[in-house]
């Protein structure tokens, strides 16, 4: 199956920028993350491949300030994506060596004439 053209274009764009970012599809699967995101979490997409929501959560988070895994479907981010609106959030992700790092996250839903096609999610280290 070929991905929606909006996701293909988004991947091509994100491959060329320094801002850490990933792409999720309509099922919430992380279908791509760029090298900058890979540098932040300590893994390259080529090593990891696509990850469904459960796999992504168990590997990287999101975790709350106490290190507890946050339920992804209740995140403001997920709710906003379902509603087709941009959203911001803050939580922690786990690096390869196990450290938790707080990140700020912004999500840009890709809503087209054919409906919700997925989303671009950008993130960066939050100020402590």
């Amino acid at each position: 199956m070929t991905q929606a053209v909006e996701l293909i274009l988004a991947r091509n764009l994100l491959s060329a920028v320094e801002l850490a970012a990933f792409i999720i599809d309509t099922d919430g699967t992380v279908v791509f993350f760029n090298d900058s995101a890979g540098a932040l979490i300590g893994r390259r997409f080529e090593e990891v491949g696509p990850l469904d929501q459960e796999q992504w959560s168990s590997e990287f988070g999101p975790f709350d300030e106490f290190g507890q895994l946050m339920p992804t479907d209740s995140l403001p981010l997920s709710v906003a994506l379902r509603e087709g609106l941009p959203a911001n959030g803050r939580f922690s992700v786990r690096l390869e060596e196990g450290d938790l790092v707080p990140v700020e996250v912004s999500a840009l839903p890709l809503v087209t004439a054919n409906g919700f096609q997925g989303a671009i999610v950008v993130f960066w280290r939050a100020a402590e």
Partner: protein, 283 residues
Amino acid sequence: MALSVRYWGTRGSIPTPTPDMARYGGNTSCVELTLSDGSQMILDAGTGIRGVGLAATGQTTPVHVLLTHLHLDHIQGLMFFAPLFAPGRDVRIYGPPALGAPLLNRLGRYISAPLAPVEIHELPAEVTFEEASDGGWDVGPARVQAAFVNHRGPTLGYRITDGDATVAYLPDHEPALGQRLDGASGEWISGHGLAKDADLLIHDAQYSDSEYSQHVGWGHSGIADTIAFARLTGARRLALFHHDPLHDDAALDALGEEAAAAAGDQFEEIALAREQQTATLAT
């Protein structure tokens, strides 16, 4: 039983009605498919569609017109398509969905004053306007699938399967924008699913490779990318389409030779599409 293909317009961008362009043709995009049961399907409504309408004078069967997008070189002929002016004739026009306005309204911007002497609602035929759906639809014995592809503005590619024959039509397409096709997986190549294992792929090849480097992002392809795309999809025959209006017959001859040399024996056939050329695929 066969699916036949006739090219009525192979030019991109703007008509080129000059003698030095006559062999490949000066009309803009239009391809007629005659399905195995005789049903008529027309891909795009560039100026070439005028000839389709004139050739079919007196027919009363439904006409299916599939528009890839609404750039003028793909719709300009609609105003001169005879079936639209035949009272009661069943004409079904399909096109890309877009945010903001239905297909009827978007086409109505062209078929209305001051650009046209009639309003779209005044066309004498029984015209329906349908936005292409994700799941595809049937026309006679054929299954039509549509998907957005990489071009400027909402643009579809089409895959038409009639029995064992499949035609893929992507006349305006830049799958290599922002990525190298070699090494990319099909899942991440625009249009790949539409063209996969097609018996005939009709694909944008507007530019030579040196010209493409000056037109990246314009929504069209250079020869090398078109060949790479076709190879990755497993297409059997490749028709190079949407010829640049600056390319006369001599330039297109040279481009065709360049393409054939680059493709080697990767395809059963590779050739530049010519106006009035026909092809037949066993169904």
